[in-house]
Amino acid sequence: MYLLAEATSIPWILSNVWLIPAIPAISFLIILGFGKKLPYKGAEVGLTSIVLIFGLSLLALFAWIGETESSHSEEAVGVIAEVTASDSQLDSRLSQLSPRLSQVSPRLSQVSPRLSQVSPRHSQVSPRHSQVSPRHSQLDWESRSSIELRMTENELRMTENELRMTENELRMTEERESTLDCRSESAMTCGGESVILTAGEEEVRGAPVIREWEWFSIGGSDHSETVGSQSESEDDSHDAVESPDISIGTWVDGQSVMMLFVVTFISGLVHLYSTEYVKDDRRYTHYFAFLSLFTASMLFMVLSTSTIQLIVGWELVGVCSFALIGHWWEEKPNSDAALKAFLTNRVGDMGLLIGMIVLYFAAGKSFSIQKINSMAVLSGQDGGIEQSVLMVAALCLMAAVMSKSGQFILHTWLPDAMAGPTPVSALIHAATMVVAGVYMIGRLYPVFWEGLSIYGSNINAMAFIGGLTTVGGGLLAFVQRDIKKVLAYSTVSQLGYMVLALGVGAYTAGMFHLFTHAFFKACLFLGAGSLSHACHHSFDMKSDMGGLRKKMPKTFATFVIGSLALAGIPPLAGFWSKDEILTGAGVWPGTGGNGTYYIPFIFGIITAALTAAYMTRVIWLTFFGEYRGHEDPHESGSRITVPLIILATMASLVGFLNMPSGVVKFFGLPESWAHKFETWVEPEGISTFVSKANNNFTHAKPSLTLAIFATSCAVFAALGVWTYYKKLYAKDPKATEYTDGLASRVPLLARGHKILSEKYYLDHLYSGIITNFTKGPLANAANWFNQNVLDRFVDLVGKTSAAVGGFVYHKIDQGVIDKAVDTSGLAMSEGGESLRKLQSGQIRHYASLMFGAAVLIAIVFFIGVGER
């Protein structure tokens, strides 16, 4: 084991990624405690911490990429094929080893003393191990492979002892890889075990690095120690069947590393931006403290290994969102908006809690996400969770996603949340917090895959809600005056896209869209902030903006790049991600995804057009035409524009991370450059997301025709709006809309416009109807029930008890018991009174009594007793 430790090692950062949430948490505390006294009032602490963790995240990112990349070494693939083809017996021996893995652990403790004795043999044995678990190959083994293979072959044939030792070494190798005591029978989803099997036939990927600590435990059970793991000193998550140990930990795999990168990157840029934007604010320190706390909570949630940790992180980010939206709470609309955000999220959190509880019990009383996933994958077989249970859990969790990630119908808080400072909107409500729901779906994807039966369907709940959201949000973005509200609805719409992607089974597409969206939406939001900074803190496009193209060129350029990325114009980021989503719907001929989702596909296409259209509208209203405001706008400072430029650059380039292989070939690039994102992010063994009984997870094949079709829809829509505004401004440069437009002439369109501007009357429904109903008739009914039924019942009980007590007292105590006592006394006195009359003083009476008694005695003696 120790020798193998030299050959491979888990990168330090991946084991210690807990630092990444810990540092902003510490900075939060420092800022809260000392912020006001510091020279920059706490901003430097926040910025430093974010920069630090950004560096750590980059480290983690590269470490992870290294992990996943090394599995894709072509030489390894080739030689493995050679080796296994050359020696079938070796191959059979290898495949024999896997079933014995579960028996190995008790023997492990016996092995370690023997290891030092057999060290010479180990150096011969290790190459064979490396070939079996190719991640280990740091060796130059093209040179040694064939010779040493024969040697190791011989050794294998030799003794049972050696076989056992090799088994043990394989076992320990795995542990080194995953640092996890995987005893589940389904070896697939555990770290790295798939490598044992038919090497070379399956793509092998990086295994997640999971570390856990016990947080607290309920009930007095002890955990079983990991046998022989002396290198890492952690408590592992065992099959928590006996005791619900609540553990927290860090789960490093592609998804979480991607999120680490995104969150820290955008948080860093937002910190920098905020130093300029909220300068001289009334609660500057407080703002930075909460930004740090938010970052810490988001990262905490992203790295969660158990559902409890996820819930904690979820709620924490909700709290930070509340605090930051209501940053200027002295104005009532802001505090109202903060409350609305929090309460709407709370409504969805019920679904989260219920869903998590269902999963806890379904997975045999375990909070571990890994266990839940592995059991969900086995749905329909022994040791799996039933599909109906998963469906219930999935639907409950969908409710949580609807509230947190702004899906229809619980999206109403997102536009109102724009009352907070713009950097906050950029960080929280564009890039990071709102994607928490999408992330959760990604994390617990087997639950949703099985629960909503994503494979092979035409429609499912998730895809439908996502589709509705995209179109609904997109339509609403058309009628807004406030630029931030347009962007908010755009966020709603794009979140709908992500959920739609996950709903149709295009897992990687959804994650990729999350990734790219963060960049260009943050860019757009920060650009809007820059605009308002120039237009004296107003976001109203129609009254305060216009013609800012010349005055704010950097903002204009970055904003346009962001909009184009959002609209999905190639070669910017949005095109690649959006296109992959549309491909994943499986409708377009030639794509072949995990199902054929017609309606979501149609929604997606419509939204592509809508997105382009409303962003064009925004650009026209803001940057073209004539300035309608009263200020003197000028370009913002560098601390605002530099983040914008960075983000715009990322927005342009990041799309190339997931290019289809067709494009890669077209440009003559190496094959391995295709679908890089997928390589890095898609979890190991995604084909095991499905029940082994039937399905296989497939990626849809990208189709050029679809790309052209989607892009042309977007372009046409944009052109349509462009023409509209061009004509409008030609008529009147200061106008913002036609006064005699279509809507004013056609009543139906006017009605539609009204519906849109009233946001589908949803707010009216929530606050007017539902709340008023609860406050009024429902509360009155409850009160009536309480007073007349419950209280009356209680009174009745009380009265009955009093009556019973009175009865007992009067009738029984007074009547019976006291009367008995009285009667005995009376009997005595009356008896005495009557006996007194015997003493009459009359001689004849005495004489009569005497003689009568004598007669009686005579009767008794003479007649009664017998003959004398």
Partner: protein
């Protein structure tokens, strides 16, 4: 010495009753008994105090006669001497000294005479039952001789001397007591 004396002076020895003698004795007894019972009844019901005393006298006389029928001559003699002679006189003196009404006195009985009747009748019933139960067919001995005074005297002064003396003390006490009680003070 006394025996000699008695043997010399007594003329006839006691001899047992003959058959006819028995019949005559029985007949006389029934007559005497009837008279006594009637007299007793009259005594307890009459309204004249003096008559009651005289009836008692009759009863006592009949009782003495019964003694003679039973052969208890000394008892008969004593009865007559003491009862008829002394006690009756005493009772009559008492009647006189307490100014009993001469003639019929209507307030001699209680109103509730049934108590007395009840008790006496029940007593009679019990007594007669027990008598008839236990002494059925018991007859007086055939060779019954009268019990001579001489024998009684011998008996008293030998066997029963102590009760005799006690009796004399009792009489003395009674005498003194009566005198003391009835003194006019």
């Amino acid at each position: 010495m006394m025996a000699l004396f008695s043997d010399h002076f007594l003329v006839q020895q006691s001899q047992q009753l003959s058959e006819t003698g028995e019949w005559i004795a029985n007949g006389f007894f029934y007559i005497i008994a009837t008279v006594a019972v009637l007299a007793a009844l009259k005594m307890v019901t009459t309204k004249n105090v003096v008559h009651a005393a005289l009836y008692l006298l009759v009863v006592l006389g009949c009782v003495a006669a019964t003694y003679i029928i039973l052969g208890a001559e000394f008892a008969a003699a004593t009865q007559i001497m003491v009862y008829l002679g002394a006690i009756m006189v005493l009772l009559l003196f008492g009647v006189m000294l307490t100014r009993a009404k001469i003639g019929n006195d209507t307030e001699l009985d209680y109103d509730q005479r049934w108590i007395g009747a009840l008790v006496s009748v029940s007593m009679l019933a019990v007594l007669s039952y027990s008598l008839f139960e236990y002494f059925e067919g018991a007859t007086m001995p055939k060779n019954q001789k009268p019990q001579r005074t001489e024998e009684i005297a011998l008996e008293i002064f030998s066997t029963y001397i102590v009760p005799f003396e006690a009796l004399s003390v009792l009489l003395l006490a009674a005498l003194i007591g009566a005198v003391v009680v009835a003194r006019k003070d």
